[in-house]
């Protein structure tokens, strides 16, 4: 992680744009990278750096699926269940993750290690089922690959 403060990093990004407000998405991403999600404190810091209000930042963040206004696990497992992946058995892949992680889609494990959720088309349709593990695509994933992926994430 950068040794610069979040404020300084956001100022650096703002300089790329003719209007500082354009840095809202990058600023929220930087804050989320530090906090793991966007707690009120993060929104206040982003707002302060951008010269916006925390309410504005929350309104923007709530529009986008990649911003988390609730805590998420240290590992984020996202299974695409759109049409192309669905035709190739995405539901079976999702159910395999549900079993291995003992989680329902949308939920986070008690120990804060994992969040499992479904996502809309990730853009890997020719190689479905696409699973994004901590934002890195794995494609294709079959149900039988799931125990290995979970084991890898558990560090075993």
């Amino acid at each position: 992680m950068s040794t610069r403060s979040l404020h300084e990093e956001i100022q650096g990004v703002m300089a790329q744009y003719p209007s500082s407000r354009s840095a809202t998405l990058p600023a929220l991403r930087l804050a989320q990278e530090r906090y793991g999600w966007l707690p009120p404190q993060a929104l206040r810091e982003v707002a302060e750096a951008l010269g916006e209000t925390p309410a504005y930042c929350q309104a923007v963040a709530s529009f986008y699926d990649m911003f988390h206004l609730d805590p998420v696990g240290r590992h984020l497992v996202e299974v695409c269940t759109n049409v192309s992946c669905g035709l190739l058995g995405a539901q079976q892949v999702l159910e395999a993750f549900e079993r291995e992680l003992d989680l329902h889609p949308g939920d986070t494990s008690q120990d804060g290690e994992f969040t499992l959720r479904t996502i809309e088309c990730a853009g890997g349709c020719g190689w479905g089922t696409v699973v994004a593990v901590d934002h890195r695509y794995r494609e294709p994933v079959r149900p039988e690959d799931v125990p290995g992926i979970v084991q890898e994430l558990r560090g075993g």
Binding site: S22, L25, R29, Y64, D65, V83, L88, G123
Partner: protein, 439 residues
């Protein structure tokens, strides 16, 4: 017709991600040529090439460039739409992954043509690997002093399909919620920061160096002129042996793509339906497999070329479930600004749930079509249409299957390939659908 690499040329064997390799394959010679050419002549060249927007709207790029307002006292911006998210589409990702410098070169040529020195590439947030490749390529181009005063900013989205719609993209790039604007004014007059803005898809921009290299006249003859000149990178997915991207001259038939290149349907199954241009377009049936992939032929067949995403569906799939899943996607992605789309997509999902569960009556099917009709053409952007058009086409082309659901439930009785598919809308606690599913 066989594959023909133009946009992806030089990267057939391996990704062309190093500047030196790209230059060896002829890269940046077109830029050199362009910078010796007058901007107006370049726009002429684009017009003559017949290049149309590859994002889905298929608008002639040269014409769009010629609409840019002059003498406004404001800067002109070039915005590249790399927010690829139409279900079934993964071609721009392939272009950024395999020929990132060609996209950057296209930006620089286009910037010269429209006399602009500020370029923004809006890349979808999920495309992390592609962002990193593009960032490295841009750094190489900068170090090689090829930018010549032009600034290119890579701007990452954060997960919102609607930001692929150009005016929503501009809102998002301005740091707002990605909700479409009413038009006019169009971006060419009042786009990014209310300044004249040219906005084009990745594939369109990456085709520009190809046109300069070949010459517009020659490029215009490739494919299916006059309306569908050139190649397209088609994304093939679904129930097909070899999914992936195939760059083909337009006019290649669906049969050649699905069977000759795609290897046909696996597991000895039968073809049931084909979505030829991303999930928002009307569906085609097996008897239309010889339809050429060009704009006019697709229109005659009752569909659209859209984003060039061909989704193959075999006989294991229940069409009601397909309609439900497609409707769920658009409901999830509706920005909420226009009532027909915000409310209509939710109605569609609820009615399709009822039909799928075998609990609907004749009136529900009529109501579904009525809701579709009340969405079509009544919103600021095409997202609502993108939900209504395909679903109405499933009912139209597979009426018997929908009727069977009304009469005695799903004929596939739990064996459909999409059975029980858990959509993101289902996991939202505030969604009435989630409550139904969990009950």
């Amino acid at each position: 017709m066989a594959e023909r690499a133009l946009v992806l040329s030089g990267a057939e064997e391996r990704p062309l991600t190093k500047l030196a390799d790209y230059r060896e394959a002829g890269g940046f010679a077109p830029l050199k040529k362009a910078r010796r050419t007058k901007p107006a002549a370049l726009v002429e060249e684009l017009l003559e090439s017949g290049l149309r927007g590859r994002g889905g709207a298929f608008f002639p790029m040269g014409r769009k460039a010629s609409f840019l307002a002059k003498g406004t006292g404001k800067p002109t911006y070039l915005v590249v739409n790399a927010d690829e998210s139409e279900p079934g589409t993964f071609k721009d990702r392939e272009i950024m992954f395999r020929v990132p410098h060609r996209l950057i070169e296209g930006c620089l040529i286009t910037a010269h043509a429209i006399e602009c020195d500020r370029v923004f590439i809006y890349i979808r947030g999920e495309y992390l690997a592609e962002f990193e490749i593009l960032r490295a390529a841009l750094e190489e181009v900068r170090s090689a002093d090829l930018l010549d005063g032009v600034t290119i900013v890579l701007h990452r989205g954060a997960g919102a399909y609607i930001c692929g719609e150009e005016s929503a993209l501009l809102e998002s790039l301005e740091g707002k919620r990605g909700q479409p604007r009413s038009r006019p004014p169009y971006p060419a007059v009042s786009g990014l920061y209310a300044a004249p803005t040219l906005i084009n898809n990745v594939e369109t921009i990456a085709t520009v160096p190809v046109i300069l290299a070949m010459g517009a006249k020659k490029y215009a003859k490739v494919g299916f002129p006059p309306n569908s000149s050139g190649t397209r990178v088609f994304s093939l997915s679904g129930n097909v042996v070899n999914g992936g991207n195939f760059e083909l001259p337009m006019g290649t038939t669906l049969r050649e793509l699905v069977y000759d290149l795609g290897g046909g349907i696996p597991d000895g199954r039968e073809l049931k339906a084909i979505i030829p241009g991303g999930s928002s377009v009307p569906v085609l049936t097996p008897d239309q497999i010889d339809t050429p992939l060009d704009a006019s032929s697709m229109a005659e067949a009752g569909s659209m070329l859209g984003s060039g995403a061909v989704i193959v569906i075999d006989d294991r799939c229940c069409m009601v479930q397909l309609g439900l899943r497609v409707a769920q996607f658009y409901m999830h992605e509706s920005c909420g600004k226009c009532t027909p789309c915000r409310e209509g997509t939710r109605w569609m999902v609820q009615i399709l749930h009822k039909i799928e569960a075998g609990e609907a009556g004749q009136g529900d099917l009529d109501l579904l079509l009525d809701v579709c009709d009340r969405i079509l053409g009544k919103c600021l952007c095409p997202l609502g249409d993108a939900a209504a058009m395909p679903v109405a086409s499933y009912v139209d082309k597979f009426r018997d299957e929908f009727q069977a659901h009304l009469d005695h439930g799903c004929p596939m009785a739990g064996t459909s390939s999409l059975d029980g598919l858990f959509a993101p809308v289902d996991q939202h606690a505030h969604s009435p659908v989630a409550d139904e599913v969990r009950a």
